[in-house]
Amino acid sequence: MKNALTVTLLALAISGCAITERKNQGKLDTSLVQGNTLEAITLAKEKAGLDEKTNQLSDQLWGMQAGSLLRMNKDYTESNRYFDSIEDVMFMEDTEGVLESTGELIGSTITNDAMLDYEQTYYDSVMVNTYKALNFISIGDRDNARVEWNRSDERQRRAADYFAKKINKQKEQLEGKDEATSKNLNKSLLESEKVVAQHNFTSTEWQAYDGYINPFSTFMHGLFFMLNAQDNSDLNKAIDSLNRVAAITQTKVSAETLKLAEELQKGTSNLAGLNKVWVVFENGRAVKKEELRIDLPLFLVSDNVAYTGIALPRLKELPAPYDSLKVGDVKTEVVGDMDKIIQAEFKEEFPVILTKEISRTLIKTVAQKQINDQNPLLGLGAGLLQAISTQADTRTWSMLPKNFQAAVVDAPAQGKLTLSLGEKTTPIDVDIPAGKNAIVYVKATTATALPIVDVISL
């Protein structure tokens, strides 16, 4: 009886992590729908646990959420303090030694992925540097913005390298038979893949942007180097980036911006004479992860086990609060579909998540059977432990938008630009400083909360 109690307590402790995490995510969502950014900031800061003295974070994911929320609140310096502290965590994750990852693997074998440290995705890392650069632009620190754009560009290069390498590796594995893998795992994988296939965890329609780039980040990189060009090599950088975005997104805004950059390079126009306004629109909230539990026809399953099943993360799209933003007569176009980027990366990572979950289930089920053979009551407890500890990792950087849109228009003669999010909403008048180029940054997280507008003159 004592043993059964221990097992139950252990199970509850293990299940606690993921449940608390989801509860906090729910609280954050509610605050955002109510437009209560300050409440959301308090929650995110508390969960992130940034040490004031060492600038070390205790939770990376909440650090990113806090960085985003502080940015929404126009507290750019504080936002960058959070984003900066994430660089350290990302470096640690990247350079994590074999011992540490083995330790984590052992840990996750008896529990689940949701209990491990948050593993940053490639799109996370690109967006951390992108937001940092945008924050620096907002506070007028162009030197540091340049550094962050160079970083985001480097992160993009690393992402392309990683996925190219990964795809090659998978091809090699498919071609050569790996006899070292246990027969049970292989059989179970084959069987479970059939079941998994019925649940549409990934889709053939999910395709990455060419070269796994995040074209929004590349677009803003190009725009920055164009509007802050110190020399010809900066203009070359701008043209390179804008060229890629124009080819990939086929948008008017990227083609027009590219044309402006080319004219600057030819010397047929100059920055002071451009008089343009770029309107950038962050629309809605990115695709999120939800848990789907399925019972599996595991090869090893016998009558002597109380529970076996797997829990996997599945992507769920959220509706866009707005179609686009109208700037006078011009509509913004999508220059970066965050959902598409997340789906493509998830599709690449899913086989690993699945294999890990199945091997974990196999180990747990074998243990459960062995315990059950010796003591049926304890076996039941082990079954309970397994059932509760089977949980999917559904953590995502939920503050990312569904998509990034942009438009470019002439600076208004009267210094006022009118933005409209559709007939149901009141138009927003924005003051544009005369005689300068400007970026108007608009973020609309939900249809219920007021959009946040920031004007940056360059």
């Binding site: 660089e87 990302m90 470096f91 990247d94 350079t95 030694g97 011992l99 540490e100 083995t102 330790g103 052992i106 840990g107 074998t109 008896i110 030197d143 540091n144 340049r146 550094v147 160079n150 970083r151 480097e154 992160r155 290069r157 690393r158 390298d161 390498k165 110190q230 020399d231 090599s233 243990a367 062995q370």
Partner: protein
């Protein structure tokens, strides 16, 4: 089974938590090399630049023997790397060396984004002060305009070599422009290459 897992986890945890102590690194030590730019890289680039500027026949003041010195203003050194660098570190080293060589004097009253030391302008505000002995107040029209301007750029190029290593090339580019004619009287480029692990980013 459970005990084994627990033991393995504990051993793992113990091995992971190493301990580190603080120690001095000798100035010219080549033991510690970072993928990012360090003090040594700035020193190397600045020393090379200094030697070249001092040796350049174009940069000899006509009255050098009588104590004639060129005046140099510090313009912009663009940091186009992925690291947060204080570019003053580079120019400072060059300024100090040039001053010691007796070829250039740097003006702190004139800079691209205003004066480096605003005191030169500030003390002239004392011209109406009843408190200050007016004979000691610095007069207008005495600040010397620069003859040369030092500008530059630090560039970073990162390339993957193979699965585990990457090559980072840094270029220190510096230019001395003669302000009368707008001509670059001296230019220097100092590349530094570092090879290291491809596990993470270079900053």
């Amino acid at each position: 089974m459970k005990n084994k897992i627990l033991t393995a986890t504990l051993i793992g945890a113990t091995l992971m938590s190493g301990c580190q102590s603080t120690s001095y690194v000798p100035k010219d030590s080549k033991e510690i090399v970072t993928m990012g730019l360090s003090h040594r890289d700035f020193d190397d680039a600045a020393n090379q630049a200094l030697n070249e500027i001092i040796a350049s026949p174009l940069l000899v003041h006509p009255q050098a023997a009588q104590g004639g010195r060129y005046i140099m203003a510090i313009s912009n050194v663009v940091n186009d790397t992925a690291q947060r660098i204080d570019t003053d570190q580079l120019t400072k080293k060059i300024r100090v060396g040039l001053l010691q060589s007796g070829k250039f004097i740097t003006t702190t009253a004139i800079g691209l984004n205003g004066a480096e030391d605003e005191m030169t302008a500030k003390v002239r505000e004392l011209q109406n002060s009843k408190l200050v002995n007016q004979a000691t107040v610095k007069q207008n029209g005495t600040v010397i305009s620069p003859d040369f301007s030092l500008s530059g750029k630090i560039i970073q190029r990162t390339n993957k070599i193979d699965r585990s290593s990457q090559l980072v090339d840094y270029y220190f580019q510096l230019t001395l422009t003669q302000l009368e004619t707008g001509l670059a009287y001296w230019e220097g480029e100092y590349p530094i290459s570092k090879r290291g692990s491809n596990d993470s980013v270079t900053w």
